[in-house]
Structure formats: C-alpha cells, structure tokens
C-alpha cells in the first residue's frame, strides 16, 4: 500500500518538478532551435512512457498485493500482447530517431557561405584565428609553435599572413552570419562549449574538427571547456560576443594580423632551417 503510493508520488513528483522547477535550458542564441525541438519531442515521449510504466506498476502492486487465499495466475506468455508492445516501442523509437537524424544531417552539412573561424585551445586558455582580407586561413602545424608563434601558423604560407590572431582574449562574431568553427588543440582534448549555441565539439590535437552555427542574438556568452583537460579544466573559460555588423567591423579593425605580430617580434631573424626541419617532422597537420 505504502509502496504503491510511493510509486505514484514518484511519478507525480517528477512531473511537477519538471513543470514547476526553475531549471531549464538557457535562452537559445543560435539557429539550432531544431535541436531544442527534438529534445522537447523526446521529453514528451519518454515522459509518457515513464509515467505509464510506473503507474501501471503501482496499480499492480496495490491491486494484486498478497492477501491470504490469493493465488497468482499461471500465464507463461502472451504472444499477441508481446508483439503489440514490441511494435508500439519500435514506432516510438522511430518517432524519436527520424527527426533526430534529419537535424543531424543539417548539423553535419555546413552551408556554403559559412565563414571559417579557428579556435585554438591550449591548457587552459582559448585563442582564435580569423581569416584576413583573402577570406582564407593559412596552414598551421603544431611543430611550428613557439613563444613568437603561439598558434603554429605557417610563416611560409602567404594565405596565413593576413590572418587575425586573437590570443587569450574575447572572440567577436557578427550576428546572422553562419560560422564554421574550425577546432584545433595544441596539447590535449578540449571542447568548445557555449550553452546558448547548443552546438559543441571536441578539439583533438593532431586534427581539425568543426561545427557550424548562425548566431541569432547579440550579447556576451561564456565559453567553457567541456572535455576534461587537466587540473585547470574548471577554469578554462572565455567570452564570445555576438556583435552587430558595425560593432564587429570596429572590433576587427583593432586586431593584429599574423604578419603584424611577426614583424613586431622581428621574426625576420627566425632561423628558416628550423622551420624546414620542423615541417618535415611527423604529425604535420594542414587545414
């Protein structure tokens, strides 16, 4: 009796908690409303199943509780019932899966007009690289990384000279422009995670991963690392600001390009032999 009541309370409590609690996802700031949509569908379907199973159980526990003289039925199986339940489950699962796969297709396929922006993670800070006037990012290699060239941009590649380098500072992005985030790490696994954008992806040293999104609302958003990356993981924060077109242009104008930074540090004296040797080493990654 008490237990049946407890089961009912678990269901009622869970549903009430879901409806009344203040804890829900952050207001979305990207185009991925479809992801929220599939999540809501999943909530409805799974919630209904949970309530149905547990309430049915509560009913059974109460109705068929042991009383003197009771005897259980002998019913080894019921083919029809089992098949119906299997089919119903298959339908429910399909209803979850199909929309999910459609949205995943969109997630995987980057639109043609997306601008590439590179995020370079390291223990425990975020760096960024944006294509310069030529709209192209230069190649890079972690073997080229040095205090003068923290992102390992290939100085031989002309496409890289005008790349804008943002080291351990905020990233700005223009609103309503699709962005393809190219994710690179120079040491361990990291994950570029902004809850409001919904999308995220691990960054793997030795390769370049990506995801894309379109910012839909201006504001300041916090970046967190979502893949354990050592003892500073919990402090690996950053800021992404979504700007209007004008603000973005103003910000971009203040940033330094790779060539400017190199010139400042007089990389003219850099021993080119070293660069050659490093380039021929294993593990070269070009994007």
């Amino acid at each position: 009796m008490v237990f049946a009541l407890a089961l009912v309370l678990v269901v009622v409590g869970s549903v009430l908690f879901h409806i009344l609690s203040p804890w829900w996802w952050t207001q979305i700031a990207s185009n991925w409303t479809y992801i929220d949509g599939t999540l809501v569908i999943t909530f409805w379907i799974t919630g209904a199943v949970f309530a149905a199973v547990v309430l049915f159980m509560a009913y059974c526990v109460w109705k068929f509780r042991h009383r003197p003289g009771n005897k259980a039925d002998y019913e080894p199986e019921n083919k029809r019932l089992e098949w119906w339940l299997t089919i119903a489950t298959a339908v429910g699962v399909t209803a979850l899966l199909v929309p999910g796969l459609f949205v995943w297709k969109q997630f995987v396929d980057v639109p043609e007009d997306a601008v590439e922006v590179e995020v370079v993670a390291q223990q425990w800070q975020w760096n960024y690289r944006l294509p310069g006037a030529d709209g192209k990012l230069g190649t890079s290699d972690s073997r080229l990384i040095s205090p003068e060239n923290p992102l390992g941009v290939n100085p031989e590649d002309p496409a890289g000279q005008d790349d804008v380098i943002v080291e351990a500072d905020d990233l700005h992005l223009p609103i309503d422009k699709p962005v393809k985030m190219l994710l690179r790490s120079i040491d361990v696994l990291h994950n570029f995670y902004v809850p409001e954008f919904r999308a995220k992806m691990d960054m793997v040293p030795g390769s370049v991963t990506y995801f894309w999104f379109t910012p839909t609302r201006t504001g300041t958003f916090e970046v967190l690392c979502a893949e354990l990356c050592g003892s500073g993981h919990g402090f690996m924060r950053g800021i992404v600001m979504i700007d209007t077109e004008e603000d973005y242009a103003a910000w971009l104008g203040e940033q330094q390009t790779f060539a400017e930074i190199s010139a400042e540090q007089q990389t003219g004296q850099l021993d080119t032999d070293d660069v050659e040797a490093a380039k021929s080493g294993p593990g070269g990654v070009a994007n």
Binding site: L39, F64, E82, T86, T89, W104
Partner: protein
Amino acid sequence: MVDVTPGAVAPVPPAEVPEVELYHPHSWWTKYVFSQDAKVIAIQYSGTAIAIGLVALVLSWLMRLQLGFPGTFDFITPEAYYQFITMHGMIMVIYLLTALFLGGFGNYLIPLMVGARDMVFPYVNMLSYWIYLLAVLVLVASFFVPGGPTGGGWTLYPPQIILSGTPGGQGAGIILMLVSLILFIIGFTMGGLNYVVTVLQGRTRGMTLMRMPLTVWGIFTATVMALLAFPALFVACVMMLFDRLLGTSFFMPALVEMGEQLSYGGGSPILFQHLFWFFGHPEVYIVALPAFGIVSDLISTHARKNIFGYRMMVWAIVAIGALSFIVWAHHMYVSGMHPYFGFFFATTTLIIAIPTAIKVYNWVLTLWRGDIHLTIPMLFALAFIVTFVNGGLTGLFLGNVVVDVPLSDTMFVVAHFHMVMGVAPILVIFGAIYHWYPKITGRMLDETMGQLHFWITFIGAYAIFFPMHYVGLVGVPRRYPDISGTAFIPESVSTLNAFITVAALIVGFAQMVFLFNLFWSLRFGREAGGNPWRATTLEWQTPETPPAHGNFGKELPIVYRWAYDYSVPGAKEDFLAQNDPGGPRAAASA
C-alpha cells in the same frame, strides 16, 4: 488459459556421482583462504568488492561536498577533486560492479543454480580471485605514491592522462592504474572461462538451456560479453603504457605542452577512444544483464508467478548482448570522429532500446494478476524498475545523436548513467543480497533495518539523481569542481547542488545500516530454513543450508521442469521446485 499437461514423471537416477571427496578441503587455509570452493571464492570476491566500493563511496561524499559547498573545504583542490572522480568512477564500474556481479554472484549462483558441484576448474577460479585482489591492491597503492592517483577521468583519455597537467599523469598514478586494469582483466578472464564452461558443461541432468533461471542467462551472457570486450581495454592499456613509459606514439599526437614541444608525434587520441568504448559500452551491459536476470527471478519468486514471456526474456538478453558490440561510438558523437558515423550509431543505439523495453514490459506484466509479497528483495527489485526505466529513457536523449550534442559532457550525462548503471544495478545487488543471504548464512537479514535501508536508499537516490538531470539541462558541464560565478547558471542551481549533496550524504550513511545488518544478522538473524522464499530454483533445494562443499550432498539433483513453476493450477503448493518430479500434482489433477 494454459495448456499445461501435468503428469507423473518417473524419477530418473542421477547421471553421475563424481568423486565428491575431491571437493572437501583438508585444512583451515584451504577451506577459508586458499579455497577452491566457488561459494567461498564468491564471498571473497564480494567482500573485496564491497570494501573497495566503500572507498569509492567516501570519494563520492568528498566530491559532493565540494560541489554542494564549493570553497568550504580547503583540502579539496581541483587536483584532488579530479582524483576523486576518476577513482570513484573506475572503482565503481570495474572493481565493484563487474567484480560483484560476475565474481560474486556468478561464483555463488552459477554452480548452485545449474546443479553443479563446483566450477569446472576450481583451481583457476581461486587464482582468478587472488589476481583480482592483487589488482585492487595495486589500485589502492596508487593513493599512496607521490603525486597520488591519476586524475584524468575514468575514461583515461589521452593525451592529458599521461601529461603533467593532469594529477598523477607524470607520476606513478597512471601507471599503477593501467597495471591494475591489466591484472584485473587477466584475473577476470580466468574466472570468466570458468563461468562460461560451467554453464556449458556443468549443468545437471535435465537442465536444458531453456530451463535455466534468467539469473544464469544474464550472468552467462554478460560473461561472454566481458570475455570479448575486456581485450579492448587490455589493448588500450598496453598501448597507453608503451606511450607513457617507452615514448611510443600510438595515441599521442605532436603536441606542445605548457610551451614545450614534446617528442610524441602523429598518434591518434580518437583511436584510444574507439578501443576504450569498444570495451566501455558492452561494459554497461556486462553490469546490466546480470541485474536483469536477477531482478527477473526476484520478481517472479516474490510475486509467486512465472516470469512473463520467458522466451522473449532469453532472446532479449542474447539480442542485447550481441547489439551492444555495435553501439560503442555513441559515446563519441562530439569526439571529433567522422560525423557520418553518427547516423549509424544513433540508429543501432535506438534499436537496442527495443529489446530492453521488452524486458521492462515483461517485468511489470509479471506483476499483473500475481500474488505480490512486498518483501525487502521485492521492494528493491521494483525500485530497480523505476530507476532503470528512468535512466533508460534518458538514454534515448543521449543516444539520439543530435539531442546528445547540447547534453553531452553536462551533468545530464552524469545523472543518466548514475541512474541507469549506478543506482539501478546497486538496487538489484541489495535485493539479491537480501534474497540470498538466508542461503549463504542460514539466517534472515533483519526486516526493520531492511525497511529503513530500502526507503532511504530508494527515495534518497532518486532525489539525488532526478534533479541532477536539470542541472545538466541548465548547461552545467560535468567535471567542474566549482561552477559558481558562471553567468548563465542561476544562483538557484547552487541551492539545488547543496540539496543533492545532503541527500547523497544521507543515502551514504544509510548504507552503514545495511553493513551493520549484514554482521548483526549473521549472529542474531532469524533462522531461515532451507527455502524461506519458497522458491523453485535449485540453490534452494540443497540438503544443507548453507550448502556444503559439493553443494548437493551425495546425489546431484535432476531437473524436471523450468525455473518458474509458481502457482501452477492443480498443484498442491504454490511452487514446484525444479527437481520436483511432480508426483503430488499429478495426484491432485487426477
């Protein structure tokens, strides 16, 4: 309603009487320490697993204290916090759950339930335990080496796991962890061979596969899976040891650590993840399938009704076991692997939900028109269904690739896997201990303490992990020792975290009641008799309780029926033991 044709069956003499003498130990040492009796080995396995599990429980309190009241406990540095989560996870998954279900329950129940005198290779079985103990000791040793145990997360992802930015990465912590895992796998393989061959070759006369209790089916299938999945972890550990100690680059790419170029180059961290999860996903079912089996038997026995759809249950166990080998990469949707894998793995993952759902339906349909005795084991079994359904359904969020993207690496994941493979199997373990304790010791566990233990554990665990999903929905990432001061996280989340911590401490202390009960009832518990639950399976039909060496006295039992003849129409009693030839029932129906 039922097309049973009861009839008298002529008793058949047992097939063989092997040298029972062989099973008698000759000294105190060989009886209790270096015992080759599966039942003693089972208790050794269980005791060791529970002891190391208590360490993991204490670690979880420390983590929760940090999360609930950040900044209050100075000794919990971020490094310490990461060491706690790593060791907590690894201990709970491998050294507690796997060892307890397969080494503990497997050893105790398989020979008894299939009507064997012992495991087929008792000596290898004994070695299995001692190697497991060695693995546990090596793991414990890592707490005491300079730098402490590894703090790279239980998933051991390279490169960070062996680098200096991770606690224990450049010390001995990670090496001891890998060595301990390798030892565990070797020890487990020895035990696993025994469990499989005993089920295949050790069954008594009349015990066909389809007459085996679902407990045996669950443990058997899980063992087969473990034998094939653990090699993946073995390979990953060996290659990682090479990377760490000998400077190879299996998993290590070229990288710059703290401004310094390391000599590694070209390796693939994703390769490790594939190997790890090729083990890691079956591992979930290695823990779950024995729980499925045990819970089926508990429900059937205490509802006095045959398990509904036994054949479906067996097929579902086998299907889940097979399918679980082709879903591993659903742990890697956002790992940076080729995104097109997402389509395949999301589909296989959601397909596996179907046999799993069938099992749930059959459990609750077993209750329908039963005669439900709400004993302590039954309470735990039913509570398992609640938490398992809850955790299984949140699995549909995470298995569906695109829904996983915002939720992965948040507290939602933590809540999900604790509900489904933490709380749920542990509730089954409790239920099973309350159920089989009378057979193991001859005495019942105390009912009042049992009630107290059950209610605090069930309600408390639900109160810990249900709200935790919503912490994850807000966007709180996992493996953060302190999330205060983050703009998008409302202040109220801290209150919720404090609540969860308090609940976790209460649930943790309730386990002390259980431990006390285990020892108290050993001496003062009510005498149980041979078959207190009036169950059908063979372990309850032994001539002595606790069963002596060789289990079944002079003659092995002969099996005349399946394991679920409860409330058979026309039978005198409401259960017919598997070795009951059915004479009385024939008389009653005639």
